[in-house]
Symmetry: C2
Subunit: 651 residues, 2 copies
C-alpha cells in the first residue's frame, strides 16, 4: 500500500470512539433493541436455513418485484453481513454474550458453507448450484460478499475474533483468482457496487495490498466497452437489450467511471460506487479519480439532492431522474441512499478536511438517513418523503430489508464518521459529546474529549489529551450555515476567518496535554429556499436549525398542512423541550392558515379566507413517532404585507 | 317504451342541427382530416384484416400493457365503431362518396363476419374462436358491440342506410337470448360499460323496447353478489382473487349500482356506466336510479374533478384515487374520460334542464375534452395534465387508440349536445352559432337560429322559427359563472332572476314566428381558487373566461412557469387575437417572476429576487399547438401587498 498521498485521512475504528450526547442513546437503542429485531426477523424469514449447510435446502420462492427468476433471498447474505456489522458495534458498546453467541453461530454456518475454493454465496451455493458467476449484473454475488467483509472487519475490531475475517479473505482470494484481466479470468464486476469499498476496508484491516488492487480493478473495469453485462447476458442465451431495467445507467456501468459526470440510475448503487472510487483514490493516490468524483459531487449536491440529504426521487429506478426534479410527497429518497451518501461524503474527506463534504455528510446523517429509524429503534422507513398525507408510516419490516440494518449500522458506528486521523493531523467532522482515541502517526496518540449538547446547542468544548506536548494540526469543521462562529484555544480568542481553510478551522500548533478549545458555531433557526429550477418548491420555504431540517406535523398543527403559510417576517422561535420526542428543540412561529369558511364547492371565485395559526415544527428525523398524520417540510411562504393583510378582520 | 316521464328530454339527432361559429371549423377539420387519419391508421394497423372473413386470419400479437394474454386487437371493433360514427357525422356535414364507400366496405365485412346466430366480435371470432362469453370482465365483447351500435345508429341517421343497424339488431337479439336471468342464460354484463348507453340509442332509433330492457338488465345486474366476474373466472379455472386489477371497483361492479355513492375505478368505465344509468332512468322513468346518480354526480363534481373537466388523476387505474387528489403534472385525465363526462352530463339533462349538468358538460367539452385534439385535427392527447415540463405533446397515434376517435366523434356531433327537445319544451344547453330543427311533440317543430360569437362573446341572439304561434317552454342555460346576465324577448327586458329555474331561464309563453331572444351571459376574465383540501392547488389561482379555462405556456411567457405569480390585485385584460391559435381571446396581466440572480446553489437562505413580468394566457384547449414547452394552469397567487413589495427596487 505504497504510493499514497501523505495526508491520507482515515476514520478511526468504532472501538476507538466513545459516544454520548445526542447519539449515545440512539446507539444504545440499536444495541439493546434494533440489532436483535433485525436478527430475529432474518431468522424468521428463513435466512439461516439458506446459509447453514447442515439444514435442508429450503424451498422458498419469495417473489421479487421485477417478476423474473430471482428472489429477495438473493440478498440475504448482505442482510446477515449488515447485521453482523451492527452487532459488532453493539457488542463494542456493551458486551452482550448472548448476541455474540448468535453471531458466532451464523459465522460458523458461513465457515461450513464456504466452498473448497473459497467461494461463498448462500443463494448460489444452495439455491442455484452451478450458476455462480453467470449473472453479475443482477445477482449481487460480490455485493453480498462485500457486506460480509464489512461485517467481518467490524466483528474483528469489536471482538478480536478472526474467523469470519479469514473466511472472507479466502473468499476474496478466490475472487482475485476468478475475476480480472488475465487469460481464463472473467472481466466482470458487480451490478450492485459495494464490494469496492468493502475491499478497501479489508485492505486496511489486513494490510494486504491485493484487496486494494482488486477494488481498483473493479473501479477501473466498470463500464468499459464492450459492456461486460451484455456479454454475460449473451452467454446466458439472453439479449443484452432485454435487460429488465433497460439501461446500464441503472448500475453506473454505462461508461467508464472516469468519464462519468452525472449521477444516474439506482441511487444506492451510485453512492456505493462513488464511495469505492473515493476510497481507492485515497489509498492509491490515483488523482485521475478526483475530477470525476468532483463532477459527480457537484451534480448531486447542486442539482439532485433533497434538503434533507435524501436522494433518488423516483421509485421506478430507486434513483435519479433529471436535474432539479425533487418531488416531495412522492419522493423515494430511500434510507439506504442517504446512508450511502454519508459513506460517500465521509470518504471524500479521505484527501483532507473539506467542509463541502463534511456539511453534506452531516445533513444526510441527521435528516434523510436518521429518519429511517423510529425513535424506539423498532420500525423503519424505506422511503423518506418530504410531505405526507399521513399514510406513510414506518414499517416493522420490508420485503427487501436492506434499509433497516443499513441505518442501524450507520447509527451504531457514527463515532467513526465524526473524526479523521492522518499523519500529524486530526479532524473533527461531527460534533458529539464523547471521546476519541486518534492516531497521529509515529506512535503519537491524541485523546480528544468533546463536551457539547450539539445539535441542540452550537457550543463545543474540546479537551486535548496527549502524553506530551505535540505538534499537530487539529481541524474543526465550521459548517457553512454557522453564523458568526467563535473559537478560542486556552481561553484565547481566535479569528475564525483567519484560520478557516476549506470550511474547517485549521489549528496548526504545538498542543499541550489539557489544552481546551472552545468553539461555538451558533444555532439559530433559518429559512431555506430552493433554487427556482426546483419547480416543486417554488414559493416555498423550509426551516432549518443547525444541521437539522424541520417539518410540520398534523399532530402539532392540525390537518390541512398545505393551507399553512409562513409569513416572511415572522420570527422563528426555538426552545428545547425535554419531553418532546425524546428531547428536541422545537420551532414555532406565527403563521397563517385557511379559515373554515369553505363549503362544499370544489372551485370558487373567492380565495379561501385566512386566519392566524401557531406553527410548530419538529426535527424531520423525528417525524411519524407520535400519531400518524400529515407532514410537510416545504411550507408555503407568504410575503410580509400579505401576512398583515391576512391578519385583518377576515378570520 | 311506456311508463316514461312526460318531460323526457332527448338530444336531437346530429342531422337536425347545423353548426357554425366556434365549432363549425372544428367539425370541418374532423370531416376533412381527422376521420380519414383515423381510418387510415386503423387499416394500417391491420384492423380490417382482423374483421374481414375473406382475408386470412392475421397473426398479430400486439402486446398489451398488462402482460396477460389479451392484446389491443381486442378493442378494434370499438375503434371501427367510433370511426363509423365519426364518419357518419362527417358525411352529414358534407357528403363524401369516397369516405362513404370506405365505410360501406367495412360494414360489408362486418355483415359477412357476423355469425349465423347473430354474434359479432372480430377478435373472438377470428383470433379466439370458441372462447366467446368466457371473459366478460376483461375482453370487451359487449363494449365493442356497443360502439358498433352507436356507429350503426349514426350512420343510419346520416345516410339512411340500414345494413349495419340491422346487423347490430341481430347481434343484440343474440345477446338478449344469451345473457339474462332465464335458465340457461349467463347472468353477465360487460367489464367495460358502454353497451348500456348504446342500447338506449338503439331503442330510440328503432323504437324497440327490448333493447331498452337489455340495457336495464345490464344496469340492474351489475355488481350483484356473488360477483359474476368471480364466477366466470372460476369457470375459466382461475381464482377471482387473481384478477389482474385486484378490485371490482375498477369496473364499478363492486356493488349494485343503486348502492354506489363514490366514483371509483377506471374513469371512462365509470362515466359510461353512469351515462347508461341516466339514459335508463330517463327512458324508463325509474326513479330509484336518480338518487345514486345524484350522489355520484356530487362525489365527482365536488371532490374529484379537475377545473378543466378532466377526471381520473391516476395512470395506475386510468381512474380515481381518493377525494381531492388532483395532481397537475401527473394528471392522467384521459381524453376519453372528459368526453365520457360530456356524455354523462348530457344524459343527466334527460330529466329536464339543470344548470349543474349543463355547466359541467360545457366545462368538460371546452377544456379537458377538446384539448385531446390538435387544432389541425391530426394529433391527439391521451393524457391531459394541467402542468407540463414541455415533454407532453400530442401523439400522432396511441398504442390503445381509444381517445382519437372518441374526441373526433364528440366534436363532430357537438350540435346534438347543444339542445334538448321534449313534449312542449326545448332547451338550449350550449351556445353556438347555427340552427336547430327541434321536435316539440304533436307534430310541432321549432326552428331555432342562434347568432353568437360564443365563447368569445357572451351575447347570443336567438330567432324562433315556427309555422304558427305555438305555446312551448324555451329554457336557456344561464351558466353559474355568468355575471349580471341580461335577457330580452322581442326587445322587452326580462328579469333573469325571476325566470331562472335550476340554472336555466325558463321562458314559458306563446311564441310567434320570428320572435327574437337576446341573451348576454357576459364574458369577463375570472380567477378561480380550489377547495383548500386540494393540496396540489393550495396558494394557487386559475384563470377562466366564460367556459374556457386558461393556461400559460412557455412560448408566450418564457420557461420557468413555476416562478410566475399572479398578484391578487392585478387586472386581467382580455382581447380577441384573430391570428393567434386560429383566433382566440388571450388574457394578460402584470405578474411577477424570479429575477435571474440565483447562482448554482441548490438551497440558500435568501429567497429568489422577484421582477415584473407580463403574463399571457391562452385557452387550455389550444395548448401545445405551437412550440413545445412548459404549460401551467394553476399559477402561484400573490397577495396584493406582496406584489407591491416585490415591485420595489429588487429587479
Amino acid at each position: 500500500m505504497s504510493d499514497t498521498p501523505a495526508n491520507r485521512f482515515r476514520p478511526p475504528a468504532v472501538p476507538k470512539v466513545k459516544i454520548a450526547g445526542f447519539w449515545g442513546p440512539r446507539i444504545d437503542v440499536v444495541a439493546d433493541k434494533t440489532v436483535n429485531i433485525l436478527f430475529d426477523r432474518c431468522i424468521a424469514a428463513g435466512t439461516l436455513d439458506q446459509v447453514d449447510p447442515a439444514l435442508p435446502v429450503p424451498d422458498l420462492r419469495i417473489p421479487f418485484q421485477h417478476g423474473n427468476s430471482v428472489t429477495t433471498q438473493m440478498f440475504w447474505d448482505s442482510d446477515f453481513g449488515k447485521i453482523i456489522e451492527t452487532a459488532a458495534y453493539a457488542i463494542d458498546r456493551k458486551r452482550d454474550p448472548g448476541l455474540e453467541r448468535r453471531i458466532d453461530e451464523v459465522i460458523d454456518a458461513y465457515a461450513r458453507l464456504q466452498a473448497e475454493d473459497g467461494y461463498l454465496d448462500s443463494w448460489f451455493q444452495r439455491m442455484r448450484p452451478g450458476e455462480r458467476w453467470t449473472n453479475l449484473r443482477d445477482c449481487h454475488e460480490l455485493y453480498n460478499m462485500g457486506h460480509l467483509i464489512e461485517g467481518a472487519v467490524a466483528y474483528h475490531h469489536a471482538t478480536g475474533k478472526r474467523r469470519l475475517l479469514d473466511v472472507m479473505c479466502r473468499c476474496m482470494d478466490h475472487v482475485i483468482a476468478t475475476l480480472g484481466r488475465e487469460p481464463g479470468q472473467k472481466r466482470g464486476y458487480c451490478g450492485h457496487p459495494e464490494v469496492e469499498l468493502a475491499l478497501v476496508r479489508l485492505a486496511r484491516a489486513t494490510g494486504e495490498r491485493r484487496y486494494l488492487d482488486l477494488a481498483t480493478y473493479f473501479v477501473d473495469e466498470r463500464g468499459r466497452s464492450p459492456n461486460y453485462f451484455d456479454g454475460e447476458a449473451a452467454a446466458r442465451g439472453e439479449s443484452g437489450e432485454d435487460f429488465w431495467f433497460g439501461t446500464h445507467e441503472y448500475s453506473q456501468s454505462h461508461r467508464p467511471v472516469r468519464e462519468q459526470d452525472k449521477v444516474v440510475g439506482h441511487a444506492v448503487r451510485a453512492m456505493y460506487l462513488y464511495s469505492g472510487m473515493a476510497d481507492v483514490a485515497t489509498e492509491t493516490g490515483d488523482g485521475t479519480l478526483v475530477a470525476p468524483l468532483e463532477r459527480l459531487w457537484a451534480d448531486l449536491t447542486e442539482k439532485n439532492l433533497y434538503v434533507t440529504g435524501g436522494l433518488g426521487p423516483s421509485q421506478a429506478n430507486e434513483g435519479f431522474t433529471f436535474d432539479y426534479d425533487l418531488p416531495n410527497e412522492s419522493a423515494y429518497a430511500e434510507t439506504c441512499a442517504a446512508v450511502a451518501l454519508v459513506f460517500w461524503a465521509s470518504r471524500m474527506l479521505g484527501r483532507g478536511p473539506d467542509g463541502r463534504f463534511g456539511d453534506i455528510m452531516e445533513q444526510a446523517l441527521y435528516n434523510g438517513a436518521l429518519s429511517g429509524l423510529s425513535l424506539d429503534g423498532t420500525k423503519f422507513f424505506y422511503e423518506n418523503p418530504l410531505a405526507s398525507r399521513g399514510d406513510h408510516n414506518r414499517w416493522t419490516w420490508h420485503r427487501c430489508p436492506c434499509c433497516p440494518p443499513n441505518i442501524a449500522r450507520l447509527v451504531a458506528s457514527v463515532g467513526s464518521y465524526a473524526y479523521g486521523e492522518a499523519e500529524g493531523e486530526a479532524a473533527v467532522h461531527l460534533y458529539c459529546a464523547g471521546e476519541a482515541d486518534l492516531d497521529l502517526g509515529g506512535g503519537r496518540r491524541l485523546r480528544l474529549l468533546q463536551d457539547t449538547h450539539y445539535p441542540w446547542s452550537g457550543a463545543v468544548r474540546l479537551t486535548v489529551g496527549l502524553e506530551a506536548p505535540t505538534d499537530f494540526v487539529l481541524s474543526l469543521r465550521i459548517p457553512a450555515w454557522a453564523q458568526d462562529p467563535t473559537l478560542s484555544v486556552g481561553g484565547e480568542a481566535i479569528d475564525v476567518a483567519a484560520v478557516r481553510v476549506k470550511g474547517y478551522a485549521r489549528l496548526a500548533r504545538r498542543w499541550s496535554p489539557g489544552d481546551v478549545v472552545e468553539l461555538d458555531v451558533g444555532m439559530t433557526p433559518k429559512r431555506l429556499y430552493a433554487n427556482p429550477k426546483v419547480r416543486q418548491d417554488a414559493g416555498r420555504v423550509a426551516l432549518k436549525r443547525g444541521p437539522l431540517v424541520y417539518c410540520v406535523e398534523a399532530v402539532d398543527n392540525g390537518p390541512g398542512l398545505h393551507g399553512l403559510s409562513l409569513p416572511e417576517a415572522a420570527e422563528i422561535r426555538d426552545a428545547f423541550e425535554p419531553e418532546l420526542l425524546g428531547g428536541v428543540v422545537a420551532l414555532s412561529a406565527a403563521a397563517r392558515t385557511d379559515a373554515a369558511d369553505w363549503g362544499g364547492d370544489l372551485y370558487r371565485e373567492v380565495p379561501p379566507q385566512r386566519r392566524a395559526a401557531a406553527l410548530r415544527a419538529v426535527p424531520y428525523y423525528a417525524w411519524d413517532n407520535r400519531a400518524p398524520g400529515e407532514m410537510l417540510v416545504w411550507l408555503r411562504a407568504d410575503g410580509v404585507e400579505a401576512s398583515a393583510r391576512d391578519g385583518e378582520g377576515q378570520a
